[in-house]
């Protein structure tokens, strides 16, 4: 618990090597998403927001398998990934509430989380946008002579956009150190995958690009981490990209205005029976890392911590009006303060 309360994204990231911390982080993601839902109802959140409760094992499984100076691109459904990578609950909640304490100073909002110190590029609100960017980050790593890799996280629906196919082909032909992670949660917005995509497994598409792929139980963070470790090692060895498909499920609708009435009855309940938090908690009891019944206490502690972060956020002011004009270019107020990846 002390570790989750750290204000340093790097420290939070490194803490993920600890078994209990892996569970704690998943519980934290769930609690933050639930708090966001409430903050919306309380009028603190504008626009839209895309929750990822149910997909926590994917986030934590990825984050524990890569280094803080590996690069990650992901989407608007990125709160969980940001938290797993190390962004603090206050920085995530603060961004979503448009406060200075937010990771983009309140200028970005729910769909645009960012934290260069743990490799997270601004999450994109345009489908497919992150895949080519990950290819470029991987090119830069190679050009600069290090063994860093890039991970691009996107949804099942994103496998039908040109950028997906172009990026897989590009990465394969250039043997780029990229791991493409498809979170297959069965829906793209209000449309079930079968209605938009003629294959059940997105992973098969890797075959067209002569790229290895993997299909993973995305509700089990250890399985996610195991598959990631393989793909990451391959990328670091210079053997090229892998497409890893995580079978998972979002418990909520697509965005805050979506009651998800298009889902067949019983589907959500079936997935709830394989809740990623319960799966890891049970395993940790077996490993003697978590006391029998310890999950409830953990959840309560995390809820308190998230509540404290929320209080801090709600006390944080909004950005100053001058921020509208700053950081548009290096010529703007704020100047050139760019992050230097891999400088240290």
């Amino acid at each position: 618990m002390t570790i989750s309360n750290s204000n340093s994204p790097i420290a939070r990231r490194e803490a993920l090597q600890d078994r209990l911390e892996q569970l704690t982080r998943m519980v934290e993601i769930r609690a933050v998403e639930e708090r966001i839902q409430k903050l919306f109802a309380e009028g603190h959140v504008r626009g839209s927001t895309h929750l990822a409760n149910g997909q926590e094992a994917v986030s934590v499984g990825i984050a524990r398998s890569i280094d803080p100076d590996d690069i990650v691109t992901c989407t608007y459904r990125g709160h969980g990934h940001a938290l797993a990578l190390g962004v603090t609950p206050a920085a995530v909640l603060g961004e979503i509430c448009g406060r200075v304490i937010g990771c983009a100073g309140g200028l970005g909002g729910s769909m645009h989380l960012v934290e260069p110190s743990v490799g997270l590029l601004p999450t994109a609100a345009i489908i497919g946008a992150g895949l080519p960017i990950a290819c470029g980050a991987a090119m830069a790593a190679r050009a600069r002579g290090n063994d860093r890799i890039a991970v691009s996280i996107f949804g099942d629906g994103s496998a039908n956009i040109g950028a997906f196919h172009e990026s897989l082909n590009f990465a394969a032909i250039r043997k780029l150190p990229v791991v493409f992670v498809c979170e297959n949660n069965l829906y793209g917005e209000y449309t079930r995958i079968q209605l938009s995509t003629p294959v059940e497994d997105i992973a098969v598409r890797a075959g067209s690009y002569n790229m290895p792929s993997d299909i993973v139980d995305g509700q089990d963070s250890d399985k996610v981490a195991e598959a990631m470790a393989k793909a990451v090692a391959r990328a670091r060895r210079g053997e090229g990209p892998t497409l890893v498909e995580m079978k998972t499920y979002r418990y909520s609708g697509h965005s805050r205005s979506d009651p998800a009435t298009y889902r067949p009855a019983g589907e959500l309940d079936a997935w709830l029976k394989r809740d990623p938090i319960d799966i890891l908690a049970n395993r940790l009891v077996g490993e003697n890392v978590l006391a029998e019944g310890g999950l409830d206490k953990l959840k309560a502690d995390v809820r308190d911590a998230v509540e404290a972060a929320t209080a801090e956020v709600l006390e944080s002011p909004g950005p100053a009006l001058d921020e509208i004009m700053s950081h548009v270019g290096a010529y703007s107020a704020g100047g050139d303060q760019r992050w230097n990846f891999w400088s240290k």
């Binding site: 504008r46 200028l107 769909m111």
Partner: protein
């Protein structure tokens, strides 16, 4: 008169067009079974069937391009871009293919499709979901571009766009969808593309505007000491030079009010044309009220500052009228 949601005007225009013309088809993401992310296509699937109201994968390039091909071969496709930014991944098909179809075939072929999209800021959707982007299309010869401003103009422009012989982009300010106003539908009602409307008469200055800024201009005019004429430009390309020039001839002052970055907004073209044509009748320099050249901020206070408000517009126009000098925008002083 009945009060309707403005989004119902979109729905009604699409429904009527599909009833009147069997070649009208619709494509977009979640427009059919789900009735549209903004509920502007609710019921169309049931009324017209899955061959005409088509849910697409998240493949804008494919369905935008399919619209081009279908249009060339006799259909009237209406494509929905949920947020106008999404056309970024499909731009070639519209701005490079559809726009040149007639030109390259020396008039033998055309791609009379309609792209309609929600657009604009004001609701906290952040910088990748809040732009108007009309300059992307206005800058492309071969395309027409229009912006809706209320239930009547939504219906009238959409019906005309669908009947137009060339590709048309219709931008629908998203912030207006959930506004209610009195409007009686008339299925024969059209607003010709290329025609502006004087929506308020005045003598001191002409505000030329469009989209959600029309109501801002009207509110500014109501509250202002100056006697302001307001023109809803409606079609941004080709635009109604005659109506604007005549109005400025009467008032002697031109103000453009644009939900667009200063550096690329349509007002630059309006100002340069009027400055040349009406040079002799101008009492003050033409004045543009625009957005700053910066992305749309998420935070609500900042977004409210970012967008011209009625008070700011009134203040700017009053300064212009009383000094005959162009007042500075807020952001230079803030920087």
């Amino acid at each position: 008169m009945a009060k309707i949601w403005i989004r119902q005007a979109v729905l009604r225009a699409l429904d009527d067009a599909m009833k009147d013309d069997p070649t009208v088809i619709m494509m977009g993401e979640d427009i059919a079974a789900a009735g549209g992310p903004f509920k502007v296509t609710e019921g169309l699937l049931a009324a017209h069937g899955p061959d005409r109201v088509i849910d697409t994968p998240i493949s804008e390039m494919a369905f935008m391009g399919a619209a081009v091909g279908a249009a060339v071969c006799g259909m009237k496709p209406v494509v929905e871009m949920m947020f106008i930014e999404f056309i970024g991944v499909a731009l070639d098909q519209l701005t490079t293919q559809a726009a040149t179809m007639r030109y390259l075939s020396r008039g033998q072929l055309t791609a009379p499709l309609v792209v309609r999209a929600s657009a604009g800021a004001g609701q906290g959707f952040g910088c990748q979901h809040s732009q108007m982007l009309d300059h992307w299309f206005r800058g492309t010869p071969g395309l027409k571009v229009a912006v809706t401003s209320n239930a009547r103009t939504t219906y009238g422009l959409l019906r005309s766009a669908i009947e137009d012989p060339d590709p048309v982009v219709i931008l629908e300010p998203r912030i207006l969808y959930a506004e209610r106003e009195e409007y009686e539908f008339d299925s024969s009602y059209r607003i010709p593309l290329g025609k502006a409307e004087i929506v308020r008469a005045g003598t001191d200055a002409t505000i030329v505007t469009c989209g959600s800024m029309v109501r801002v201009a009207l509110a500014a005019a109501e509250s202002s000491k100056a006697n302001i004429e307001v023109i809803d430009l409606l079609t941004l390309w080709p635009w109604d030079r005659k109506t604007v020039a005549e109005s400025v001839g009467r008032t002697g002052r031109l103000v453009t009010l644009e939900e667009a970055p200063a550096g690329s907004g349509w007002g630059g073209d309006v100002v340069s044309h009027i400055a040349v044509e009406k040079f002799g009748s101008l009492k003050a320099p033409p004045h543009r009220i625009t957005l700053p050249d910066a992305p749309v901020p998420y935070n609500g206070t900042l977004e409210a500052r970012f967008l011209p408000s009625p008070a700011y517009v009134a203040e700017q126009v009053e300064a212009l009228v009383s000094t005959n000098k162009s007042p500075a925008p807020w952001w230079r002083t803030a920087a």
